[in-house]
């Protein structure tokens, strides 16, 4: 009876769908409170609304502005190859990217990784057939494809509310060998939440087959919580479920230690000083040659980082808030990093 095809086809998936809903909601509520898990409403009202001034948003919502600001403030970013602002400039792109080892096209005002096109150079075999660029999945990418993507960006397909946009073309990041075994396609990046210049929580985002090369957790990427004190992995999740090994490469995730961790924290904290945004998500990549580079900033960083770290944001945020109250100032970047590392070792959960 239990193994009839109808049961397997209909009842089992239905059960699988419904079980997540059958939870003791009140107990979950208490558990979340105890652990200090931050919810969306709390983030929006108590942190983003209070610490992120509206007028500073364009600095992070526009990738071109972020990039220029970073360059002025000596924060390392991937090299800018071109900025396409008008439809008639689009054909010039081909000359600008000729001879580069791959490049990346981004809408300046895209959100959530929308509209990012990563272009790889074709190998010798493909070049003989007249293909010069490839997608990350190895399929050829024609000049028309690139022009169409740029045109879409300028038309505002990827920007909020459909505002017309500009396309930022930057040099491709060469993934550090330390990370190549942890990624399927694309570039693994590091998200650090910085509150009032203090690094609060960090997570590596590893793209995989299921996420189609994208590094967004809700699209199926792997999230690995990283210890602020050491840069070592704490916990890893995919689709909200704990995992121990990378689903594609089979690499054990608990061995992951982020190299150049101190510089990464320095870079993240510098972004607060540069933008003035109190509650900030900093996305960093590690380049083989150039070290940590600022990829982009986010004034509304998501909450999934708590799942990856198996820890709540609130205790750390409250600690920083109470330190501001008692000390008035949080001091230099080194002092701020030291404060959080100290706090985490004394309050290890």
């Amino acid at each position: 009876m239990m193994s009839t095809p109808i049961y397997n086809r209909l009842i089992t998936p239905l059960k699988k769908r419904l079980t997540p809903w059958c939870i003791p909601y009140f107990k979950v509520h208490t558990a979340l409170k105890k652990k200090g898990i931050m919810g969306m409403n709390c983030r929006n009202i108590r942190y983003i609304g209070r610490y992120n001034a509206r007028k500073l948003y364009p600095l992070v919502d526009d990738k071109l502005k972020t990039k220029k600001l970073a360059m002025v403030n000596a924060v390392n970013v991937p090299d800018l190859l071109d900025v396409v602002g008008e439809q008639h400039d689009i054909p010039n792109i081909h000359a600008k990217v000729k001879g580069t080892a791959g490049f990346c096209i981004k809408p300046a005002q895209g959100s959530g990784g929308k509209g990012i096109l990563v272009v790889l150079p074709a190998d010798a075999d493909a070049q003989k057939e007249g293909v010069s660029w490839l997608r990350t999945n190895g399929k050829p990418l024609s000049q028309q494809d690139i022009e169409r993507h740029l045109s879409n960006i300028l038309a505002g397909i990827f920007s909020l509310g459909g505002k017309s946009d500009v396309a930022v073309v930057e040099e491709l990041i060469q993934v550090d060998p330390a990370f190549t075994k942890y990624t399927h396609q694309g570039v693994p990046d590091l998200r650090i939440i910085v509150f009032q210049g203090v690094p609060i929580m960090a997570m590596m985002r590893l793209s995989c087959e299921a996420s189609k090369g994208k590094a967004n957790l809700h699209q199926g990427a792997v999230g690995v919580g990283i210890d602020i004190a050491t840069g070592a992995a704490i916990n890893a999740v995919q689709h909200g479920v704990d995992i121990t090994h990378h689903p594609d490469t089979g690499q054990s995730l608990s061995d992951l230690v982020v190299p150049q961790w101190a510089q990464m924290l320095q870079l993240a904290c510098a972004c607060y000083d540069m933008t003035g945004l109190g509650y900030l998500g900093v996305d960093i990549v590690l380049d083989k040659f150039k070290g940590p580079l600022l990829l982009e900033l986010n004034a509304r960083p998501g909450l999934a980082i708590q799942v990856a770290n198996n820890a709540g944001l609130l205790p750390r945020l409250v600690a920083v808030e109470s330190r501001i109250q008692t000390q008035k100032t949080l001091g230099s970047i080194d002092e701020r990093i030291a404060f959080m590392q100290q706090f985490l070792t004394t309050h290890s959960e």
């Binding site: 939870i23 979340l32 919810g39 409403n41 108590r46 799942v307």
Partner: protein
């Protein structure tokens, strides 16, 4: 942990107090009951007379409805700035006469009355008119004779004869069409009935439709069979036994006469009101002047009131969206799109609305996915989607009508631009995040719209929002409190349920 923003809470409390005070005033002083049951139905009817003034003095006479067996007049009022007004209680009908020495440009006069549709014992029964045999000439006479004998063959009883006549004028009957070349249906029917020695007359009837605006008077036929009197709609559109209506004029005269002006039009707006019996008594005692506190939507002209009946429901829908987003955490595509969809559902009826919405959005998405293959600028693409939506609406309406579903015509009530943006957003979502996210957000929007529809069509909710303006302040207070709620959303408890284990 959730430290409440103090100013917000004071403001919310102040709003609540204000709202409760207004509600209490309406309930205890104006006597509006909280439940819609303890009241009776009144029809407020407003006639709006508009004309262009010529030079010199102006005189307008407007026939008013007499009390009939069908309804009781509760009160009446006029609004006509600058005009002198007298009521002429004639033998046959009451007439309102407005006059002014000189006026310029467009003039608007209002006459308002409140009617109760119920048998009126005091009113005199209508007198049957004298038989006046019409004289038909030539081919008209032949046609009239043929149509009448057909009807007479069907039955000999007067009420059956008229039904047969109405049918004859509706079908493409050659003889009947010939008769209609020089006259209207109602006129011909009365003539033919007179010919057959059945007393009948044309009357001007106002069909009562809740929320109706700019309605015309309709010419119906009153037929006498000895003591019995019955009313028929010659166009066959309304069934007088089932729709509420009022005889506005029954003495073969015009409703409006204008001297010193031209282009007179009259349009009627009406609204169904639930009025408690208590409040009616008070109204009779106290003078008509509304106090400042009572100055509410109910002192506006009727056509505006009818609009507000719908508008006052919008905050209810908005409140539902706010609750669903901040407390439950549902995702909807477009913040207030669900409210607009719910309002459209109210116009179309639920099943038609649901089918129509899914069809339009579904086909729109298919068309949009074709456009996305070409390099098009955003504005052009949206415009194409809008045009496609219009075409889809037209196509579905025509197809539905062909299959005899007049419901299909209601599709036009959907907000087109909103639908187009929904399609555009969903198709981008589809390309970026896949079909699952589209189903999630589309489903979320539809769910909230359904919920909004169910609440907004609830009789009690409609009664309370329309009669108690104070409720709006309470809605504001609730939204304010929701806006500063920092606790978890219901769906977040599910999302973070893993933290329960460790």
């Amino acid at each position: 942990m959730a430290k409440f923003n103090r100013q917000v809470s004071y403001f919310a409390i102040a709003l609540c107090v204000l709202g409760i005070a207004l509600i209490a005033f309406r309930h205890f002083v104006s006597g509006i009951p909280f439940l819609p049951g303890a009241s009776q139905t009144l029809w407020a009817v407003e006639a709006k007379i508009q004309f262009e003034a010529d030079e010199g003095p102006i005189a307008v006479s407007f026939t008013l409805p007499n009390e009939h067996e069908q309804f009781v007049q509760v009160n009446e009022r006029t609004a006509s700035p600058g005009f002198d007004l007298t009521f002429d209680e004639g033998a046959e009908a009451r007439v309102a006469k407005w006059s002014i020495n000189a006026a310029k440009g467009k003039q608007t006069l209002y006459y308002l009355t409140e009617l109760k549709v119920e048998p009126n014992a005091v009113a005199l029964p209508a007198a049957s008119p004298a038989i006046e045999k019409p004289r038909f000439l030539g081919s008209t006479a032949t046609a009239a004779g043929s149509v009448l004998s057909d009807a007479n063959n069907a039955s000999a009883r007067p009420f059956d004869v008229i039904e047969a006549l109405i049918k004859a004028f509706q079908t493409p009957n050659q003889q009947a069409q010939l008769l209609l070349q020089k006259s209207t249906v109602s006129q011909r029917i009365v003539q033919l009935l007179m010919q057959a020695d059945i007393p009948a007359r044309e009357i001007d009837v106002l069909v009562l439709k809740d929320g109706g605006r700019q309605q015309p008077l309709r010419t119906w036929v009153q037929v006498f069979d000895g003591e019995a009197v019955r009313i028929f709609d010659p166009s066959g559109k309304y069934n007088p036994a089932k729709t509420p209506w009022v005889i506005w004029e029954q003495n073969d005269g015009g409703v409006i006469e204008l001297m010193g002006g031209h282009g007179a039009t009259v349009g009627f707006s009406m609204l169904q009101k639930r009025v408690p019996i208590v409040s009616e008594l008070r109204k009779a005692q106290a003078q008509e002047e509304p106090g400042l506190l009572d100055a509410s939507i109910h002192s506006l002209p009727l056509s505006e009131q009818a609009l507000f009946k719908g508008i006052l429901l919008v905050p209810v829908g908005v409140l539902i969206v706010v609750l669903m987003r901040t407390l439950v955490g549902l995702k909807t595509s477009g913040t207030f799109m669900p409210v607009l969809i719910a309002l459209a559902f109210m116009q179309t009826s639920l099943v038609t609305g649901l089918i129509g919405f899914t069809l339009i959005v579904g086909v729109g998405l298919m068309i949009r996915s074709y456009f996305s293959r070409h390099n098009l600028l955003l504005v052009a693409r949206i415009s194409l989607v809008i045009i496609s939506v219009v075409l889809i609406m037209a196509l579905f309406s025509v197809v539905a009508f062909r299959f005899g579903l007049s419901e299909g015509l209601k599709l036009t009530l959907f907000p087109m631009i909103i639908l187009s943006w929904t399609i555009e957003r969903m198709s981008i979502l589809w390309e970026e995040e896949g079909a699952k996210e589209v189903a999630l957000q589309g489903g979320g929007s539809l769910f909230v719209a359904l919920l909004g529809y169910m609440v907004m069509t609830n009789g009690l909710v409609q009664h309370l929002t329309f009669h108690f303006l104070g409720l709006q302040f309470i809605f504001m207070a609730i939204v304010l409190v929701c806006g500063s709620y920092t606790g978890y959303r219901l769906l977040e408890l599910k999302r973070f349920r893993r933290f329960l284990a460790n």
